[in-house]
């Protein structure tokens, strides 16, 4: 289990991370979210041992992370960390060997992964000759080449099209199923929502939201109702507890303060004609994120 306990990091007088704590268990996918400059990369660097925390501790199975265990860790940085003059094979051999792997094992694993990501033909191409998306695939491959027990992914989906996001997502889920701990950050909340069980939302180094996604959504009392009916929007707006009403395509989206408001809305909708849809949905993580971060942004 990875334990981040009361970690604080100062750059001079600037507080980058403030008393951050979380745990990640084997097979768990953990999301570290936040706007730019929230402290995500600093946290990752502290986990990787690239930065020393000003206070607090990071442990893996109750031991400090050092160069004895880094062979079992995979790390994908937010910016490209590839040596662009090398070929894909040379790059993977380089990073793989630094992970303590043997050449033949690296080549075998590389071939499997290249095939999985449909880029086998790029094995001997120089990285600088590849497209941004393919470079990101190679970067991801270098991070997982050693089948890490702890995988840290800083914005793994950047520069990827939806098909490749799906490929990455499947690989990440497969690794988690095999018991790897995965921590990742992303600006795309739909990705976090898809496979994260737990998350921490950082704002200016401080934790503004944390816990299991299901619990977070439950705690966030606001709900959304999607309606397909012939009804005047003004009538819906007049219902006590309705926060906003808007047209989303051919549907009406009604945001309500809590679940108790839903029956009152239903009463109004029931009087309308051509009713084909009335669905109460939980708010998206994106909505919660914007609400929570916005709420704390000015503080």
């Amino acid at each position: 289990m990875l334990k981040v306990e009361n970690v604080t990091k100062y750059y001079g007088d600037f507080l980058a991370v403030d008393n951050l704590s979380f745990t990640v268990k084997e097979g768990e996918i953990f999301g570290l979210l936040g706007v730019n400059g929230a402290g995500k990369t600093t946290t990752f660097r502290m986990i990787m041992g690239l930065l020393d925390a000003s206070s607090g501790s990071v442990t893996w199975n109750d031991k400090k992370i050092d160069y004895d265990v880094t062979d079992k860790i995979g790390f994908l940085t937010e910016e490209r960390s590839l040596l662009t003059k090398l070929t894909v094979k040379e790059q993977c051999l380089f990073y793989g060997t630094l992970k303590g792997m043997q050449d033949d094992v690296i080549i075998k694993r590389l071939e499997t992964l290249l095939e999985k990501f449909n880029i086998s033909e790029y094995k001997d191409k120089k990285i600088k000759e590849l497209s941004k998306g393919n470079q990101q695939k190679i970067q991801f491959i270098t991070a997982i080449i050693n089948e890490p027990k702890l995988l840290i992914l800083d914005e793994p989906f950047s520069g990827l099209d939806p098909i490749n996001v799906e490929l990455f997502k499947n690989e990440i889920i497969e690794m988690a199923q095999k018991g790897s701990m995965i921590i990742f950050s992303s600006h795309r909340m739909e990705h976090v929502e898809l496979f994260c069980e737990k998350l921490v939302v950082l704002l200016k180094g401080k934790t503004v939201l944390e816990g299991k996604i299901a619990d977070i959504k439950k705690q966030y009392r606001k709900k959304n109702i999607f309606i397909k009916a012939n009804i005047e929007l003004e009538k819906l707006k007049q219902v006590d507890g309705v926060l906003s009403v808007s047209n989303v395509g051919d549907e009406i989206e009604v945001k309500i303060a809590n679940e108790e408001v839903a029956p009152k809305v239903f009463e109004v909708v029931a009087k309308a004609s051509d009713i084909s849809k009335f669905v109460i949905e939980e708010p998206s993580l994106n909505e919660i994120f914007i609400a929570k971060v916005g709420e704390n942004y000015e503080k």
């Binding site: 001079g12 660097r45 990787m48 041992g49 690239l50 930065l51 160069y67 880094t70 062979d71 860790i73 790390f75 940085t77 910016e79 490209r80 960390s81 590839l82 040596l83 662009t84 003059k85 380089f94 990073y95 060997t97 630094l98 992970k99 303590g100 270098t142």
Partner: protein, 437 residues
Amino acid sequence: MRSKLNYLISVSLKRKIKTKWFMAANIILFIVILAALNIDSIITFFGGDFNDTMKIYVVDKADSFDIFSNQMQANSFNLTNDEEFGYELINYKEDKTAEDLIKEEKKKALVIVLEKKANVLEATITSQNFIDTLDYQVISNALTNTKVSLAILDSKISMEEINKIYEPINIARVILDENEKSEDEATSMIMSTVFPVIILPFFMLTLFLVQMIGAEVNDEKTTRGMEIIISNVSPKTHFFAKVIAGNLFVLIQGMLLVCFVVVGFLVRNIIGGASITNGVIDEFGGVINTVLASGLGSKLIYVVPLTLVLMLLTFLAYSLLAGILASMTTNTEDFQQLQTPIIIISLIGYYLSIMAGVFDGALFIKFFAFVPLISAILAPSLLIIGQIGVIEVSIAIIIMIVVNTLLIKYGLKIYKVGILNYSSKGLWKKMFKALKD
């Protein structure tokens, strides 16, 4: 499992050596060295009249051909330092016939008319074109000496006496200081000129070293590959890998340069480099002979190892410095700007070693023989010309060891922070803080 340090060293070396550009650079170097060592043969191959003996038709109206011929031989040797006499002297009676011959022979022939006017020798030199300056000087000196000889003859001094007069004077050199051998005087003069030329490749290798380490560290840093590398190996391992690889590279490159020179000399021997100019080999051989004859050979037994130790320590210091500075800079352009002053430090040593022969005993120059990075060139130069002794060079070596130790101790602290620093804002503050930690 292979050691990560060894692996990083081998990767760095392969990246530098297993490239077509390394091959290309060395092919060019080989061609340049080969050409430089055989330049006379190359010039000869493309043709020209420099290899021909100059014909001199002497219209002797003053009965002085023999004396002039002797003087030409003597002056030719004195001025060209060439035992082979490059002139063919023909005693002609009719100047008109000779001038006709010149037209046929063109610029490698000339006519000298010798005649006495008022009992004093006068000469007219006729040629088709300009005469080479050296040829003119030989002829001019020979004519002047002939004129003097004739005057001496007129004063009834025997030919034997005249020859004695013209022989170079025997000088017995006495130096009162027992520590200074008289033969060192000549060799000192030679070595003060030759030594800086011999160590010229040192600059080239220093430049290669600084460029290699700087470029590699910057490349890994700017691509952010450094974060992945440092998350797998410690900054210390990474730093030493770069330094060791850089030094191994310059040793390999240095050995290649030596091989190129050896091959160049072998080629020169095979193609018969002892052509008309007899330049490099003879001069180099002359220096070696002079050095051996003077007993400097025994001096080289300790000068060479001391120089090599100082150079290796200086390479190490340069590589440490390059690594530290490269870690601090945030892009390749910044490092390239820093690279110039580092190389200039070495250049100061080079110029001071040349000037040491002129400013004999200058305290200012002696002081710099102990200054790190400069000492590698200056201290051996001063040792050879006898301005400092083995003890002083040993002190320079100890200073270099201390400097390298300090560079490793404090440089590592800066390196650890520098390689993961991507901002030039507050750079010096960060570095001083790193030193304190």
